[in-house]
Amino acid sequence: MAEEKKLFKVKIDNISVEVEPGTTILNAARQIGGDVVPPAMCYYSKLQGSGGKCRTCLVKVTKGSDADPRPMPKLVASCRTTVMDGMEVGNITSPEVQDARKGVVEFLLLNHPLDCPVCDQAGECDLQNLSYEHGAEATRYEFKRRTFDKIDIGDKIQLHMTRCILCYRCVFTADQLTEKREHGILGRGDASEISTYIHQSLDNNFIGNVIDVCPVGALTDKTFRFKNRVWFLKPVDAHRHCEDPKCCGKTVLWMRGDEVFRVTARKDKYGEVEDFICDTCRFDKKEKSDWIIEGPRKIDRHSVISQGHYVNTVKPKDPLVEVLDGRQPKLLFDIHTTSEVNRPEIDLSKIDGPAHSDDFNK
């Protein structure tokens, strides 16, 4: 019998969980699930080296480990800090963390254009969710928000640099999924931007995944641009046999009627794709006949996308049908023709203020 691996006991917000050594605090919290999972804007479990940059996942380590129970002096990025045996972590139970997170959200939104009404990402935007949950209701920033010169990165992907929060996910995606990275971070500080050095279009068969990994609306699908709002579309799971060996062919079609508006990879509840898909699937297969449809995609019921999509809900029984014993209800009398109270000659809109019995006794 194989020797059992020693698991590390970790306490996050006083909830114990046992995880394998080498797990990060964030992933340990995801094993617990629910509210104790810190939000992550830059960490992406499928991308190596991502995380640590946005600082929204900061947590307080109140006890380092059983061997060294000292707390960590600063808040740590939970996505890049591995657990130790006996570690105790405060996330939603720590006011310090909540305060710092509020600060980080404010910083992230400082130069964000807040153009959600015209942004294609609205409705499935991590930054929107984050600011609803942790942000302040108003900004304290009184200055002009920064803007960038527009650059064209090809006919498939639209770049809105003003919305970017510089999570570096798209850079890692290009590094790890494609043969050649053509875009990167140029400039420094708050002038740094996602760009190509010599204006080049991004054309690699897997580059479309940068759209899926982008937590905000900085990189959006040009073929879907301004076509529809995501919450008006019905997401359905579908697959096709893709010729590209690296592509799984399993996607979500965003449909309205029989029309396929866009194709994305399947995302889990943390907004991370399950498998990356190729650009042929994403951009070129926009016919229903290209796909084998599996069924409706389950979307978290708190998401605006699932509004009006009642999946697996039980309709309350209508007792009237039973009571009437098969008979159809019919209109017995019209109140307007029979009521003595009804005074058609008094125009309610002419009465100043709420209607009073005096108004009818004139």
């Binding site: 940059k53 980080v104 992230l108 420094r188």
Partner: protein, 454 residues
């Protein structure tokens, strides 16, 4: 005269060249280390000496060296951080410009102690003429058998490479420096892993400041027990201070860490007093990123003790009433200096130098700069002061690297100690454009805390 260990021979003409350096006792320490001491003995001496990192943080060097991982078959590297970009600090430039062989010798001994066969000097791009000096010195040393293969017949190999930076402050942060050295964008790495485990090209690496490495030479020469007799307490040895600002004699001074701040500013041996006979208003004792102190807290601690030029004494009282020795960039401000303008200058610097990797620093530094700009130019509001305090509080400690802290501390200290001046700027916007707040009460002796009643 204070005793000197590093710059004692700096005045000798031609000390820059090998022959003069050698005939004045140069490379004796290297000879001693390589031929009579082993690597462990050198590390032991450095540990005994209590040498603390001279780059700013003051971490014990011997301890840092003992952390380096020593896996089999993996090369180890020594990197010398010569990316001295802190405003107010220019001590390493002096050292490299005038006695480059001291650094080379220090690198040789340190590499020997660490078992590194390659050492890198990462030098900031703005020091355009110094790499030439260093490379010339390296060529001389190589010619005389102090570098290269089988150094002086001991079987130890070492190559020293000089790498020019491209002028980014952030590349003075050790992991950003390593990234830059590898040819990548100078973004600080997320720690852990620390460079001692995974540094340059994933190999164990030690990054030390120029002055730290140079200080290894006198330690080996005189021995750790002798070195510890310099200075007070845990602040052992001598420290290079680059004094600037409103003083009569700006320059690089080597001090033994046993003199008081007052002596350093006013004695003729060092700064020679405030220029034009003006009064002292404030001072930033360790380079732009450490908290600024008003005159009354600079010369005496909150407990009423004389403040000394040591790591501990300058840090007495924590950040509430103290500061840091930092990298030794001693900036003195007289009564005519405006703290708000000075803080704005620093905020602008940190905004410009932020790498943009993590959000609090990328967005917060620019915000602080804009708010400070408003206050300085007569458009400030009272609430802006509290806003600034809140911004710096949310940057500090929440960033990947210490640049966020370095940007937050000067603003925090300025508001903490000079709030009156900020308020005066807000209340008298027109006057603030034409004159300065002046010395006000910043030099008045502070009331001493009452002794606790029994």
């Amino acid at each position: 005269m204070g005793r000197k260990l590093l710059l004692d021979k700096a005045h000798i003409e031609g000390i820059r060249y090998y022959d003069t350096y050698r005939s004045n006792g140069g490379y004796a320490a290297a000879e001693k280390a390589l031929k009579t001491m082993g690597p462990e003995a050198v590390v032991e001496e450095v540990k005994k000496s209590g040498l603390r990192g001279r780059g700013g943080a003051g971490f014990p060097t011997g301890l840092k060296w003992s952390f380096i991982a020593k896996p089999e078959g993996v090369p180890r590297y020594l990197v010398c951080n010569a990316d001295e970009s802190e405003p107010g600090t220019f001590k390493d430039r002096y050292l490299m410009e005038f006695i480059p062989h001291l650094l080379i010798e220090g690198l040789l001994i340190s590499s020997f102690a660490l078992g590194a066969n390659s050492a890198y000097i990462y030098i900031r791009g703005e020091y355009a003429w110094i790499p030439d000096i260093l490379e010339q010195a390296i060529a001389e040393a190589k010619n005389k058998g102090w570098l290269g293969k089988n150094i002086q017949g001991t079987g130890f190999d070492l190559e020293i490479y000089v790498q020019r930076g491209a002028g980014a402050y952030i590349c003075g942060e050790e992991t950003a420096l390593l990234e830059s050295l590898e040819g990548k964008r100078g973004n600080p790495r997320i720690k852990p892993p620390f460079p001692a485990v995974k540094g340059l090209w994933g190999c164990p690496t030690v990054v030390n400041n120029v002055e730290t490495i140079a200080a290894v030479v006198p330690i080996v020469n005189i021995g750790g027990d002798e070195y510890i007799k310099f200075g007070i307490g845990k602040s052992t040895g001598t420290k290079l201070i680059s004094a600037c600002g409103n003083i009569n004699k700006p320059g690089v001074y080597e001090i033994e860490m046993n003199i008081s701040v007052e002596e350093f500013i006013y004695s003729d041996e060092y700064c020679g007093g405030i220029k034009g006979g003006k009064r002292l208003k404030a001072c930033i004792p360790g380079g732009s990123s450490v908290p600024v102190l008003p005159a009354n807290l600079l010369l005496k601690t909150a407990k009423g003790e004389t403040r000394m030029m040591t790591y501990e004494s300058l840090n007495d009282g924590g950040f509430a009433t103290g500061s840091m020795l930092g990298s030794g960039g001693f900036i003195v401000m007289d009564e005519d200096q405006c703290i708000v303008r000075n803080t704005l200058t620093f905020a602008r610097f940190y905004h410009h130098e932020s790498c943009g990797q993590c959000s609090p620093c990328r967005e917060g530094t620019g915000w602080m700069k804009k708010v400070l700009h408003n206050i300085e130019y007569g458009k400030g509001k009272m609430s802006d002061i509290d806003l600034l305090w809140d911004i710096q509080r949310k940057i500090e400690g929440n960033t990947i690297c210490p640049l966020g802290d370095a940007a937050a501390w000067p603003v925090a200290a300025a508001i903490r100690h000079f709030r009156d001046e900020f308020e005066w700027h807000v209340k008298h916007p027109d006057e603030a454009l034409t004159r300065n707040f002046g010395l006000a009460h910043y030099a008045d002796p502070l009331p001493l805390p009452e002794p606790a009643s029994v």
